[in-house]
C-alpha cells in the first residue's frame, strides 16, 4: 500500500475547505482527496485504487448535485470490496428517511450534524481510521504516530513477528 486516503465529498467549496482544515493534523501520513459530487468521489476512489492507495474513510455531505451522499454510502456498503471503508455523514439537511437509510443500508459509522465540533471531528476520524487500519490488516506501526497509537500498539502486541 502506498497511501491511506480520506475522501471528503462536499459541494460547497467553503465548507469543504473548512473540513479539510480541521483534518489538518492528519496531513502527515494520510492523504485527503476532495470531491464535489458523488461521481467525482467515485473517480477519486478508482484512481486511488489504481495507484495502489487505500481509501480508509469517506466523509460525505448528504445533499449534493446529482446522487446524494447517502446514495454513495449505500453503494459502498453493498460492494464487498469496499465495505471495510469507514463511512461518516456530515450534513445539515438529511431528513428522517435518509438518516434511517444511511444507518440501515449504508452501515453508517458516524453522523455529524452541521455545524460540527472540530475536535469531535478529529477524534471520530482518528478512531474510525484506526479501526480501518486494524481491520484491513495494514502495517500498524506506520500509523502509530498519526492515529490512535495506544490502540494500534495493543493490537500489534497480539500479532507479533519474530524478535
Amino acid at each position: 500500500m502506498n497511501e491511506l486516503v480520506i475522501v471528503v465529498v462536499e459541494d460547497d467549496p467553503d465548507v469543504r475547505a473548512a473540513i479539510v482544515r480541521d483534518l489538518d493534523s492528519f496531513a502527515d501520513g494520510i492523504r485527503i482527496d476532495q470531491a464535489d459530487t458523488v461521481d467525482d468521489a467515485r473517480r477519486a476512489m478508482a484512481e486511488a485504487d489504481a495507484d495502489g492507495d487505500r481509501v480508509g474513510l469517506i466523509l460525505a455531505d448528504h445533499r449534493l448535485p446529482g446522487e446524494s451522499g447517502v446514495d454513495l454510502l449505500v453503494s459502498i456498503n453493498a460492494d464487498p470490496e469496499l465495505r471495510t471503508i469507514r463511512t461518516v455523514l456530515i450534513t445539515g439537511q438529511a431528513g428522517h428517511e435518509d438518516t434511517i437509510r444511511a444507518i440501515n443500508e449504508a452501515g453508517l459509522d458516524w453522523y455529524f450534524a452541521k455545524p460540527w465540533d472540530p475536535d469531535e471531528l478529529v477524534s471520530v476520524v482518528k478512531q474510525q481510521l484506526t479501526t480501518f487500519v486494524i481491520e484491513a490488516e495494514l502495517d500498524l506501526l506506520r500509523f502509530v504516530r498519526v492515529l490512535d497509537g495506544p490502540r494500534l500498539l495493543e493490537q500489534y502486541a497480539r500479532h507479533t513477528r519474530p524478535d
Partner: protein, 478 residues
Amino acid sequence: MPATRSPSTDRVTTPWWRDRVKLGLGSAILWFASVMAIGSVGDLSTPASRMLAIFGAAVALWVSEAIPLSATSIFVILAQILMISDEAVLSLPDGFEAPTYESIYATLASPILMLFLGGFVLADAAAKFGLDRNLAGVMLRPFGTRPRAVLAGLMSITALLSMFVSNTATTAAMMAVVLPVAAGLERTDRFRVALILAVPVAANIGGLGTPVGSPPNAIALGRLDDEGLQVNFITWMAFAVPVALVLLVVAWWLLVRRYPASITSMSLNLGGTFERSRSAIILYVAFALTVIGWMTEPVHGVRSSIVGFAPVVVLLATKVFTVDDLRRLNWHILWLVGGGIALGNGVSSSGLDVWLVSRFAWGSMPTLLLMGAMAGLALLLSTVISNSATANLLAPVGISLALSDAVDLDPLLAGLLIAMACSLAMALPVSTPPNAVAYASGEIETKDMASIGLVVGGLGLAIVVFVMPPIWEAVGLL
C-alpha cells in the same frame, strides 16, 4: 471540479540489484545450483557439499528476507529430507550414515520448541486475562512518582515481563501505556525520549534472561541439546540474569543522565483489578506453578520442556485457552526456530561441520579473539537482520567449531555468546521489532536509539566475552 489531491509519492522503478527479493532469491538459487553442480571436491563429501548448498541458500534467504523467515526454515527441512536423509531422492555414497527423514521432521517438535510453545501459551493466556498488565501495575507502585524512579520501575518490569513473554509483545503493550504519558509532557522535556527508549531497551535486555525469553536462546539451546549438552532453565538464568541486570542499570543511568526530566513527579497508569473468574484463577495457578517448576528443575529433575507442556494441556482442557486462541498462536516463530535447529543437525550429520572447521587453522587464533569475533559477528549481523535468523546461521557453525578439537572453546560458552550477542543488537530501528515499535511513535530519532543501543550493545559484548567467562568458570557454571 475534478478531484483534487495533495501531492502523491513519486514512484521510481528499482533496478534489480537494489531489489531485495530478486537479489536474495537470485543469489540463493545461484549458490545452490553452483555448489550442487560442483559437488564433492577433495575432502568435501557429497552429503557435505549438498548441505553446503542448503546452508548458503539459507544464508541468502534469511539475510534478504526474500521469502518469509519461516519459509526458509521449512525449505531447510525439506531440502535436507530430499538430499541427505534416508528418503533422499538423490543417491548418497555408501558408508554415509544418513539421518532418518523422521528425525529431520522431528526438529519441528524438538523439546526446546515444546518449551517455547508452553511459554507462548502462558504468555498469550496471561495477556488475555490482563495478568501481565496487572502484575506490572502492582510492581510499579513501590517505585513512587519521581521520574527517574518511575523509569527504573518501568525498565525492571518491562525486562521481567520480556523474560517470559515475547520482547515485541511486551514492548508494544508497555508502549501503549507510555505513549500517552510521554505525549503529555512538555514539548521541551527530553525525558519523553528516555521513557520511550527505556521500553525497547529493557525488553531486548530482558529477552536474554530465560530460555523462553527470545528465540536465539532457544536456537542455541536446541543445538546444544542435540549434542547432548543440556542446560536447564535455572542454569540459563544464572548465566544470563546477572548480565541483564548490569546492562539494565547502565541503560537506566545513561537515560536519566542524557534525558533529565524537568518535571518532578509523574505516574504511569498501569493495571487495574485482577480478574477473579474461575478461568483467571486457573491461569494464575498454572502460571505460578509452571514458573516455579522451571526454576526448580535441579530439585525435581523434570525437564523444563516437559514442565512447560503441562500448562498447555491444562489451559486447553479447561478452555482458559481456547482452540481459537491456539489457532492465533505465533506458530511461524516456532517454525523459524525449528529450521535453525534442523540446519544445525544437518551441518553436523552431513559432515559439513568437520569440513568447515578444517578450512582455517583455528588453533592459531587466541581463544579470546575467536570468542570476540564470534560474538561480534553475531552482534553486527543481527543489527541489520533478524536476531533469530542470525542465531539460526551462526549457532550451528559456532557450536560445531567449539565441539571440534581444533579450538579450546567450551561449546556451551560458544552457544551463550552467540545467543546473547544476537539479543544485544539494538542500535537501529530495524535491529529488532521492539525498536521498530518505539521508533514508530515518532517521538525519537535514530540517533537517540543508536547512541544508547551502541553503548548497551558494545558494553554487553565486552561483558559476555571478557568479564563473565572467568566468573562463570570460577562459580562452577562452566
